[in-house]
């Protein structure tokens, strides 16, 4: 929890710099890499309560005031939080989470299958697969081949 609040604090303090640079790396600039999400029952027993309170920056009512709230940052948050499901869905080439992730990123539904196929091909080649690696692949593929299908970050 301390890590989460630190991350949110980082998220708040670095945003003005990020906005100026206009090249936000959510993992490093917005502290998403340091965020802790529940991945087991014991943690969930505690975090269930935390998540139930609206004390995190994800609350839409609060985050609308945050600078670090571009679609790429939201996408990074989504990936970090739901990575186990996303990893499996990308291997399978379809799924509800991967579709939601691309919608968060602002990509047309009609383009989802093409983007997933492209990301899947690249992701399969990676020796070490991580949430951050997946985020980078998504952004790279959008930047090179799908700029018109997805909104600016």
């Amino acid at each position: 929890m301390i890590k989460r609040f630190l991350a949110i604090a980082v998220l708040g303090t670095v945003t003005s710099q990020s906005a100026q640079a206009n090249q936000v790396n959510p993992w490093q600039d917005c502290g998403i890499g340091a965020m802790v999400f529940p991945n087991n029952g014991a943690a969930a027993a505690v975090s269930n309560i935390i998540w139930d309170l609206g004390t995190t920056a994800i609350s839409t009512k609060i985050s609308s005031a945050e600078d670090c709230s571009g679609t790429n940052v939201k996408t990074a948050m989504f990936i970090k939080q739901t990575y186990p499901s996303l990893e499996q869905e990308i291997a399978q080439g379809e799924g509800e989470y991967i579709s939601a992730m691309l919608s968060v990123r602002g990509c047309d539904i009609a383009s989802h299958s093409q983007i997933v196929a492209a990301v899947r091909g690249d992701f399969a080649q990676q020796a070490t697969r991580t949430a951050e690696g997946l985020y980078n692949l998504v952004e790279q593929n959008i930047a090179t081949d799908f700029t018109r299908q997805c909104s600016a970050s």
């Binding site: 087991n40 014991a42 027993a45 269930n48 309170l53 995190t56 939601a100 919608s103």
Partner: protein, 601 residues
């Protein structure tokens, strides 16, 4: 009199004329006004404790609040942005307020919500956390399906503000008796979907409400008023189910929370919701099921042929067999199905923190093999039909009992009361199969010697047998139990009691679809009539659901110091709210009891 005083006097004169025209007294007693204020009619108090919600803070009354709301919304129209639901309601009652200004923050939020319909979501009970045993309830605003997924819908949750590093005793005491603030939060639904369905392995049920567009809008406006407000939290009654139901009541006027019982549990709210009618229609338009990752795995495994189930078990223990003809010669669809099943199972084990290194490594291999196959699922999760029933179909949670008893030296009448929730012989409809969750369960006897005795008092009695549903994989089969209470030590001693804690763990195995056998090692820590004692013991038993109406449990329990005790209990379901129990016990002497149970609440 200076100019300010003159202006104030004129203002209040006009206000009094206005309010008289609208009968302030009558309006202040209007049910919807009281609901908008979250007024507790029974105790004549207000639920919201934070500053800023009541203009009359410090001396809150419905009438003063109405008067001050009209005054403040007239004087400062920007406040209408903070209270859009109050504003709408006041205008609907004919009260003239200045034109509502452009509310940028609210409009941005409302646009983000862009709601089509509203659902109440039930997350099924979770045996690993005492606060989640009864399930959880949240509100979901369903968007027009522009994203093609409900994961990006907005959801409103209610929960207690528990400090970091809170100790267990404080957590329980404050949770039950008060001490925590609570509030509503607003998050995208994927947060809860992932937390409940993927992390805590809880099935989700969405009850879509039959509300009109304007009612949905009104609900949205009221939720806006509530986010960031603070309430007092009480686990027993003023919990998530209670306050989320109160929000629905604001719009529908249907009382969902009024009950004979002083406690509120989510399944009770869903029972009322499912039977309620609103505007000549059922209040619930549709019920939608979202399987947990655990349910997805079991469904995927069940659909495998027997040879493929065997192969899945072999591949799990010997991944090298992926290079063997046994796997290589399968069709692409069979390979996909095998890999999907194994990936789901391995992810379950990772979620449950079992053999993390082994399962992470195996998951990586499985994903590599999956990348070699074409895109596409064999069993889309939305095709999974529930093999459990919706929460509103569950049996009522509270119980009253009456019975007769005969043993070697006495005959007696027995009376019992259980607060909640179900025992292992109750129908498992909408409950965790092969489990027991009872709180405050007391049984008294009045015997033929004119004595009144407490036969047992369980504060809490939990059992989870968790049998495996996938025979070829190491799934489940571990069982545990926890009891805190007071009961007789020996069958043939009517004045021998033991009070304290009993806990145990062991093994269970499914022998047929609806039967299990189990073996538990347990320890009792507590006090009898004379001393504090620690008593180890074992229990062997069978639990079987013979049919929808008939179930039985039989066990032998020994503590090595006294003779083993044989327990047999059969339950015959008479109807939804009644059953008959035949209970037989033997320890040197026999004891037979016949009990009639009535379920309510």
């Amino acid at each position: 009199m200076n100019f300010t005083h003159l202006f104030t006097a004129i203002f209040f004169l006009l206000l009094s004329i206005t309010t008289k025209a609208y009968d302030l007294d009558a309006l202040s007693h209007h049910e919807q006004w009281l609901r908008l204020l979250h007024y507790n009619t029974e105790s004549d108090t207000f639920y919201i404790k934070s500053d800023g919600f009541y203009f009359s803070a410090g001396d809150v009354s419905a009438r003063r609040e109405l008067s001050l709301t009209i005054h403040n919304l007239s004087r400062n129209p920007n406040l209408q942005c903070k209270f859009p639901a109050r504003t709408r309601w006041l205008k609907s009652q004919g009260i003239k307020l200045p034109k509502k200004p452009i509310c940028n923050k609210f409009e941005t939020w409302k646009k983000a919500e862009s709601v089509d319909s509203v659902s109440l979501v039930f997350a099924s009970g979770y045996m690993s956390n005492p606060a989640s045993l009864y399930g959880h309830m949240l509100l979901k605003f369903n968007k027009s399906n522009t994203y093609g997924t409900h994961l990006l819908d907005h959801s409103i949750n209610y929960g207690a503000l528990v400090p970091e590093q809170e100790n267990g005793v404080s957590y329980i005491v404050k949770g039950i008796f008060g001490g925590y603030s609570a509030g509503f939060s607003d998050q995208l639904f994927y947060t809860h979907h992932h937390n409940y369905a993927s992390t805590e392995l809880r099935d989700l049920w969405e009850y879509e409400l039959s509300l009109s567009e304007s009612e949905t809008k009104f609900l949205l406006e009221h939720v806006w008023e509530l986010i960031e407000q603070r309430f007092d939290y009480y686990f027993i009654d003023e919990n998530c189910a209670y306050h989320i139901a109160k929000v629905i009541e604001v719009v529908t006027g249907k009382t969902l929370t009024h009950n004979l019982t002083p406690w509120v549990i989510p399944s009770t709210i869903f029972k009322k919701l499912s039977s309620a009618r609103y505007q000549n229609h059922p209040l619930v338009r549709e019920i939608k099921y979202t399987p947990s990752k655990s349910s997805e795995f079991h469904r995927s495994y069940t659909l495998l042929s027997e040879p493929l189930k065997e192969l899945v078990g072999q591949l799990y223990t010997q991944p090298a067999l992926f290079e063997d003809d046994k796997y290589e010669l399968l069709t692409i669809e069979q390979k996909k199905h095998v890999l999907e099943t194994l990936m789901s199972f391995v992810q379950l084990k990772i979620t449950e923190q079992e053999g993390i290194e082994f399962h992470q490594s195996l998951k990586k291999k499985l994903i590599n093999y999956r990348f070699k196959l074409p895109i596409g699922l064999t069993t889309p999760s939305n095709s999974i039909k529930p093999n459990v029933s919706a929460p509103h179909t569950a049996q009522n949670a509270s119980k009253l009992s009456a019975g007769v008893l005969s043993s070697h030296d006495i005959n007696a009448a027995t009376l019992g009361f259980r607060l909640t929730y179900f025992d292992a012989l109750n129908p498992d409809t909408a409950r965790v199969k092969f489990s027991n969750l009872e709180m405050i369960d007391i049984e008294l006897e009045v015997n033929n010697k004119s004595q009144l005795k407490v036969r047992k008092l369980d504060i809490i009695d939990l059992e989870s047998f968790n049998p495996s549903y996938a025979e070829t994989l190491p799934d489940g089969n571990w069982a545990w139990q926890l009891n805190v209470g007071f009961q007789r030590s020996y069958l043939d001693c009517h004045s021998c009691y033991f009070g304290g804690l009993s806990t145990g763990g062991g093994y269970s195995k499914r022998v047929k679809t609806s039967s299990i056998i189990y073996a538990l090692a347990n320890v009792e820590i507590g006090k009898n009539e004379h001393n504090w004692r620690v008593i180890p013991g074992i229990e062997l038993g069978i639990l079987s659901r013979v049919s929808d109406k008939l179930a039985f449990r039989s066990s032998v329990k020994s503590d090595f110091n006294s003779d083993p005790i044989l327990n047999f209990e059969a339950s015959f379901q008479l109807n939804d709210n009644n059953d008959l129990r035949l209970i037989f016990k033997q320890q040197n002497h026999n004891e037979v009891q016949l009990v009639f149970n009535y379920y309510w609440g």
